[in-house]
């Protein structure tokens, strides 16, 4: 038994990733933070997508200096295997034999075609847990659809639900389908692990990214299934809270979000704005009136914020009990006083890019602290180690 003070929640759990791009790697990162040991199988003919789209790669600096790759693959081991060769498939199977969980996020048929489908892996390791994440899922008429995060948003229906009133559908700016797909994949792995611990039984889990989106937009889906309509997009406005928007502040592209939930908060906002009389203005003196007249109110607030510093607005409003925050850029996040005070960021030493400070763990555990376990692996850095040391084989 390991010493309790050093225990991590998933100590002793081994995960093999047959992954590329985002969903599989981010799910592996989450499991790794909780203590799982991860080996990523990488394809020599087609290295990870994010290794190849980095600014460093485009500058001709190779596969190992990608910030995208780093942020998703820290603390993992990289094993490069050409799985078109049967002897390498054998190595992969040997790795699966000592693994608890396999995460795959290629198109559904790829693992089968390689001879590494669930049935094949189950023969090698009867209680293996295989989580297969794909864009559209392993079955159905669209299973072969090419899955790229931004193209999955419109398919899931989310693109017409947010955006500017009367405007066209918009792309979100973030990897929303991929991030939520990754969380669903990690959660599925942990639930399947719990089931295995109780019953001794492994299993296959099929995850479709587009379906994971449907579970996080129930307001629209239930509105449609109950009442056969969906409210049109209305920018940042809320169904109840008003004011509720981003307002422009002093400086280049600076904005502050303000969300007012009730009369007390509105009064606090008016006081901070130095316009206490607004709280008694008959256009705004209760939630219903603020909701109905919020465009007028938005303009008044915007005229005030235009002359203010976004961080200053946030601090004054939060101290007065109103939810608010600036729209932060990446750079500002790295200087964020709250994240710094909680020691959120972690520094890694990478053999080629040197010291880098990157975002840290997703949750703080009191007994089994989560941890980012080192920098991202070089392409194939651990191939030799995996084959000879971990598996005790000789390279073919």
């Amino acid at each position: 038994m390991k010493k309790i003070e050093k225990a991590r929640a998933l100590d002793g759990i081994r995960v093999t990733e047959f992954t590329t791009s985002w969903v599989g790697p981010e799910s592996g990162l989450i499991l790794s933070q909780m203590g799982a040991d991860i080996v990523r199988i990488e394809n020599p003919a087609m290295p990870d997508y994010w290794r190849r789209v980095s600014p460093a790669y485009f500058r001709g600096e190779g596969l190992d200096k990608s910030g995208y790759f780093a942020i998703l693959n820290r603390g993992k081991k990289s094993c490069v295997l050409d799985l078109k060769k049967p002897e390498n498939v054998e190595i992969a199977k040997r790795l699966v034999k000592i693994s608890d969980i396999v995460i795959a996020n290629f198109a559904p048929r790829v693992m089968d075609n390689l001879g590494l489908g669930y049935a094949a892996l189950k023969e090698v390791k009867p209680d293996i847990i295989m989580i297969a994440a794909s864009g559209y899922g392993a079955t159905g008429p669209d299973r072969a659809g090419v899955a790229f995060g931004p193209a999955l948003e419109p398919y899931s229906g989310v693109s017409i639900l947010f955006g500017n009133p009367g405007g066209p559908p918009l792309p979100s700016g973030v990897t929303i389908t991929d991030h939520h797909g990754a969380l669903s994949t990690a959660l599925a792995a942990l639930v399947a692990l719990h089931h295995r611990e109780q019953t001794g039984e492994g299993q296959y889990v099929d995850i479709a990214e587009v379906e994971t989106m449907l579970t996080i937009m129930p307001e629209a889906i239930m509105s449609y299934t109950m009442n056969r309509y969906v409210p049109p997009p209305d920018g940042n406005h809320d169904e109840v809270m008003a004011p509720h928007r981003c307002y422009r502040c002093q400086g280049d592209d600076k904005w502050v979000a303000i969300a007012v939930a009730n009369d007390e908060e509105f009064r606090a906002l008016c006081k901070v704005m130095g316009q206490l009389s607004l709280s008694n203005d008959e256009r705004f003196n209760d939630g219903f009136r603020r909701y109905k007249n919020q465009n007028e109110l938005d303009e008044i607030i915007n005229n005030w914020t235009l002359t203010q510093d976004a961080n200053d607005v946030m601090t004054r409003l939060q101290k007065a009990g109103v939810a608010s925050a600036p729209a932060y850029s990446a750079e500002e996040l790295f200087r964020n006083p709250q994240l710094l005070a909680r020691d959120f960021f972690v520094e890694h030493e990478h053999p080629l890019v040197g010291k880098k400070v990157l975002p840290g763990v997703f949750a703080k555990f009191s007994e089994t602290p989560a941890e980012i376990r080192g920098s991202d692996p070089l392409f194939g850095e651990h191939t030799e180690w995996v084959v000879t040391k971990l598996l005790g084989m000789t390279r073919p």
Binding site: S172, S184, V191, S223, Y224, S329
Partner: protein, 401 residues
């Protein structure tokens, strides 16, 4: 039916979306989730739309009905000593307490983790707050809009906005749902440890920190390139754009060389596609103003289905922009039984979004609809904790349950 989490007991003490969605994720996989609601009024989500037939009522909110399937509802006020005593009894037998109270609030009532672990050393207490239990912002408030902005997701949403006058937007309430999935994963990790060691622990989850994974594509730019992407950055490649078609909209994503070549084939190899300035993804981005009308002209008389099927056949990520009607009728979703019907005693039989995963051995399932407010008071307080009927009446009259 095999339920993966049938041996897991959870107390849910939280409102609206985040904690309830976390409770739902685990309840739908078999955990027993006892949801504590405020006597008389219940979870605030009961007062949030959409409402069935647009007629409000605490048992008619689509949001609440969705978020609370497979749970048991008890009412309880922690304001009085007897309420806190009942809370102790509930927590004593639980594996997990999910809660979203402001930092220090439970401590002031003698219900901090250090107090609760005395009665249950195996307890996992998953505590979600806007910015965490510590730090200068620990008492600050948030909302989905604020969450989305504070992690930098709004600064880049919508992508390729073109003008800095475009207000940073949020995408629905997805920040709350995604945080909930993180909480569920963290809780399952702690549960794995608990089952091995019988040690509980507290998990301090800051919504801000949990959401940093959502923006990793952008945050890495600062340490690696010394710059911050914005929503006005021009596309690194094109096309990655929405187009109007005969029956709605489609999304054309073909900036990579092999995708563009195949799209050109789909378009019937027009002469303009050979022009130098459209040769690379980057140059197509630079000359987008010239290229956009050419694709728009070709695509305008096509249908969503034609474009999507062409992309599927040729291996290009061409997507259809599905409306809610499309989503509900989508053959892919129908074949995979993505939507599930369940009957509720007040709201009747309705269609709900199903699961984010398909487990082969221990399937996700809807076994019971969202509970009525306090529906399980007698079962939990009476049958399980041993209060007799007259006590329950008294507790109700005094406002404790």
């Amino acid at each position: 039916m095999k339920l993966a989490l049938k041996d897991v007991k959870i107390i849910e003490f939280g409102e609206m979306i985040c904690i309830p969605y976390c409770g739902k994720l685990l309840a739908d996989l078999g955990a027993e989730v006892i949801k504590i609601e405020k006597p008389g009024v219940g979870d605030a989500a009961r007062r949030r739309g959409p409402f069935l037939d647009d007629i409000p009522g605490p048992e008619r909110s689509g949001l609440f009905l969705y978020l609370n399937t497979n749970k048991k509802s008890v009412t309880l006020s922690l304001e009085k000593p007897t309420g806190r005593e009942i809370f102790h009894k509930l927590v004593k037998d639980a594996d997990v307490l999910l809660e979203d109270t402001a930092p220090g609030k439970l401590a002031r009532m003698g219900l901090a983790y250090k107090d609760l672990r005395k009665i249950n050393p195996s307890l996992i207490m998953s505590s979600v707050t806007p910015f965490g239990q510590t730090g200068p912002w620990r008492n600050y408030k948030t909302s989905d809009l604020v969450n989305w902005q504070v992690v930098g997701a709004g600064y880049v949403t919508p992508r390729w906005a073109g003008t800095p006058n475009q207000e940073p937007l949020r995408v629905l309430n997805t920040a709350s749902y995604m945080t909930a999935a993180s909480v569920a994963a963290a809780t399952m990790g702690a549960l794995h440890h608990q089952r091995r060691t019988s040690h509980g622990q507290q998990i301090d989850i800051s919504q801000m920190e949990a959401l940093m994974g959502l923006v990793a594509e952008h945050t890495n730019w600062w340490p690696y390139e010394g710059m911050s992407p914005t929503r006005t950055s021009i596309p690194e490649g094109a096309p990655r754009h929405f187009f109007k078609v005969k029956d709605g909209w489609v999304f054309v994503y073909a900036d990579e060389p092999h995708h563009w070549e195949r799209l050109v084939e789909i378009m019937g190899k027009p002469d303009w596609a050979q022009i130098d300035m459209f040769k690379t993804g980057k140059s197509r981005g630079e000359y987008w103003e010239s290229l956009q009308p050419l694709i728009a002209e070709w695509i305008k008389d096509k249908t969503k289905a034609e474009i999507f099927e062409a992309g599927k056949a040729k291996g290009v990520p061409l997507s259809r922009v599905n409306t809610m009607e499309d989503v509900l009728k989508n053959p892919q979703f129908v074949e995979r039984a993505v939507f599930v019907d369940i009957a509720h005693p007040v709201a009747g039989k309705l269609t709900y979004p199903g699961a984010p995963y398909k487990f082969a051995e221990s399937p996700w399932s809807l076994r019971s609809p969202a509970p009525l407010l306090g529906q399980h008071n007698v079962e939990i307080y009476g049958d399980r904790l041993g209060y007799d009927k007259k006590d329950l009446v008294k507790l109700y009259e005094i406002g404790i349950i």
